[in-house]
């Protein structure tokens, strides 16, 4: 099969570009530590609210400046829907749904999770600047989906 010279050049450049993209992604994962939700244990969505830790959702301090939030989602709210942390806090969210699929994203961070019933999604965000960070449900979850939101309030370090 004869391939035109220009086309060969185009093919080479295309492949280089694709490899370049994959290289850049690798750097972001291995150097900058960007991570996605991974394999998880399954839980029973029907009983999740009765058992720890989701029986008592909320925030707890796990170390200096380190926090853990157990976040429960349901139609059409998050529990807790207001989370207070000091500036500089590194917060790991463990979130799930007790009914339909929801989403969870915090404005101004890279945190973006699907909350699928039967699984706990985990992700971490660091809040350096004081202020209010809106979080919302970004997966259609029924008639009042557009009202499902909350906020992280980051307070000045005292």
């Amino acid at each position: 099969m004869r391939v035109d010279l220009y086309e060969k050049v185009w093919i080479a450049l295309s492949l280089l570009m694709l490899l370049g993209f994959l290289g850049a992604i690798s750097v972001s994962v291995f150097v900058h530590g960007i991570s996605l939700p991974g394999a998880e244990q399954r839980i029973d969505p029907k009983t999740v609210v009765n058992e720890p830790p989701f029986a008592t959702p909320g925030i707890r301090e796990t170390g200096p400046g380190e926090y853990e939030v157990y976040l429960l989602s349901m139609v059409w709210s998050f529990v807790p829907n207001e989370i207070r942390v000091p500036a500089g806090a590194r917060v790991t969210f463990h979130a799930t749904s007790r009914d339909v699929t929801h989403g969870f994203t915090i404005h101004g961070t890279n945190l973006n999770l699907m909350l699928i019933p039967g699984l706990v999604a985990t992700g971490t965000a660091t809040f350096n600047k004081p202020g209010e960070y809106l979080f919302i449900c970004h997966e259609y979850c029924g008639l009042a989906h557009q009202t499902m939101a909350g906020k992280v309030i980051v307070e000045e370090k005292s």
Binding site: M1, R2, V3, D4, Y6, E7, W10, S14, L15, L18, F21, L22, I25, S28, V29, I34, S35, L36, P37, G38, A39, E40, R42, I43, D44, P45, K46, V75, D99, V100, T101, G103, T105, H107, G108, N110, L111, N112, L113, M114, I116, P117, G118, L119, V120, A121, T122, L134, I136, C137, H138, E139, Y140, C141, G142, L143, H145, Q146, T147, A149
Partner: protein, 539 residues
């Protein structure tokens, strides 16, 4: 020639355009809604019922019916033989139509406001799932008929290369049949029994995974018929030839091989699927972009041949000489241009890391209107501008309005999609009734203006398209002399390597990649599956 097949093609196009007309109307309403203007109280339906109609009617019904009709048309002419069984093809059509009516009934009665991805445990009325399954079954019947027709042709033409058009059709339907296995499994083993109450629970993650096994190759099912037009027809309409026939075949085959084991790129944010699998699907997604890059070169080089034959000189002079005043050509060339931007955005969506920024934001519909909403829809509009006159014997009703439609779509879409991408980067969610959202950030208001204005221009374009096609089909003056454009390969028909005709080889490679990409993922999900979720009706 083929008058009996053409009747069937006309019926497919009729349903397709009805779906586009009805489903499309909700698009501009959604765009205005983002701007804060909500017409839903007036209509008396919820935003989400409208959005379900939009997604199902335009993304599933419009595309599928147009594609089936167009590819029947192309197959019989390309192989120059009738379908082995016209009856089976009619049965396929009726099965699909009954399916659409059943699903439509559930949506219109507000029993299926689950959007076109129908993620459980949202539960629609069973007729929604059964209806969509029937649509798929219909396409299987049709594809079987097309395959047998091809085999007959092959038997009588041993050693001959498959005509390129038919080659594209075969790849399209092989890919479709493999892809729909995923959604069929989701429907038959999960959604239908569960929605009928025979299963107490449903595994939401498994269902999503089966859906996206289907959902990504679905976009190639939309795109491949477009490539059939771009490769085998558009060069002729531009006054040129196809630059390289073998490279076109290579692109089709690579699309077949890589398009299924990439679906996890829709589930980067899902818990329960390992990082390694997500990474593998990222790599394969970048691989499936490669044949589209080949297509860009080949098609543009073909257009260049046309532009130069029309007297264009210099590095870019040929571009100016292309028939920009011909609605059918302009539609497809502009569709290509929009698709280029869609492709760039697609790299971002598919990137393991960057996806976190755009996942489930307005960016995503911004992206998909460049692809299925423009590359596909505008190309099909361009095809309809010659196909409908050919099928009905009536002249195109209004050439000027057709041209206006094309350019309005282009500019409207440029604005709309720019606004949506921008709002998405600023974190505005998709699939959300923004007009009544409890959060509306000030930084979204300028992007929303682009979205709303672009959407309004698109409404105008949509109306022009539907009116023109309807007038052409039913009322315009008779006596159209139209032929199917058929591009000859430049430099004569150069033989492609023999391996390109060995379907068993390509099927085997495809199957192996699917098993590698999805086998362990699905095995693990099935192994760890639990009682799952009860149904919810929360709309």
């Amino acid at each position: 020639m083929f008058a009996r097949e053409d009747r069937l093609v006309r019926w497919h196009l009729l349903i397709a355009f009805i779906a586009l007309a009805v489903g499309g109307l909700f698009g501009p309403l959604q765009a205005l809604n983002r701007m804060g203007i909500s017409l839903y109280p007036v209509l008396g339906i919820s935003y989400y019922q409208g959005l379900t109609l939009h997604g199902v009617l335009v993304a599933l019904v419009w595309t599928t019916f147009f594609i089936c009709g167009f590819l029947i048309f192309v197959t019989v002419r390309s192989l120059n033989r009738s379908l082995v069984s016209l009856g089976a093809a009619w049965i396929a059509f009726w099965v699909m139509l009954v399916g659409v009516v059943a699903a439509g009934y559930a949506i219109l009665t507000n029993q299926a406001s689950v959007l076109y991805t129908f993620y459980p445990p949202l539960r629609a009325h069973a007729s929604f799932y059964i209806g969509l399954t029937l649509v798929v079954v219909g396409t299987w019947i049709l594809s079987a008929g097309l395959f047998v027709t091809y085999r007959r042709w092959r038997g009588q033409n041993p050693g001959k290369a498959t005509p390129l058009m038919a080659f594209g059709v075969l790849v399209t339907f092989i890919l479709w049949d493999l892809a729909t296995l995923g959604v069929a499994a989701e429907m038959l083993f999960q959604l239908i029994p569960w929605s009928l109450g025979w299963l107490g629970g449903i595994d939401a993650l498994l269902a999503r995974t089966l859906f996206w096994y289907f959902g990504h190759p679905l976009v190639y099912f939309w795109l491949l018929p477009v490539y059939v037009s771009w490769y085998t027809m558009l060069p002729k309409q531009a006054g040129g030839r196809l630059f390289s026939d073998p490279m076109a075949r290579l692109a089709f085959l690579l699309l077949l091989v890589f398009s299924v084991p990439v679906g996890l790129h829709h589930q980067f944010a899902d818990p329960g699927i390992g990082h390694g699998w997500k990474a593998l699907h990222t790599i394969l997604t970048f691989s499936v972009a490669f044949p589209s890059l080949l297509t860009a070169f080949n098609v543009i080089a073909s257009l260049e041949i046309g532009g130069r034959a029309r007297g264009g000189a210099g590095l870019f002079g040929w571009v100016v000489r292309l028939p920009w005043g011909e609605p059918s050509f302009a539609a497809q060339a502009l569709a290509m241009l929009l698709f280029a931007f869609g492709g760039v955005g697609g790299f971002i969506n598919a990137s393991y890391n960057l996806n976190l920024i755009v996942h489930n934001t307005a960016w995503v519909p911004g992206h998909l209107h460049l692809t299925v909403g423009s590359a596909v829809t505008l190309t099909f509009a361009g095809v309809a501008y010659w196909l409908v006159p050919l099928l009905t014997g009536r002249q195109l009703w209004h050439r000027g309005l057709a041209l206006a439609q094309v350019y309005l779509w282009f500019f409207g879409m440029a604005l709309f999609s720019f606004g949506m991408h921008w709002a998405g980067v600023l974190g505005q969610p998709r699939r959300t009734d923004m007009a009544t959202a409890v959060y509306r950030l000030a930084e979204w208001s300028v992007p929303d203006l682009f979205t709303g204005v672009g959407g309004t221009i698109l409404l105008l374009s949509l109306i022009l398209l539907v009116v023109n096609v309807a007038m052409t089909a039913f009322f315009a003056a008779r006596g159209a002399v139209v032929e199917m454009p058929k591009a000859e390969p430049a430099g004569g028909a150069e033989a492609a390597p023999w391996i390109f005709e060995r379907w068993s080889v390509w099927l085997a490679v495809t199957a192996v990649l699917i098993v590698i990409g999805y086998g362990p993922v699905l095995f693990e999900l099935v192994r760890t599956t639990t009682a799952g979720s009860p149904p919810f009706r929360v709309w």
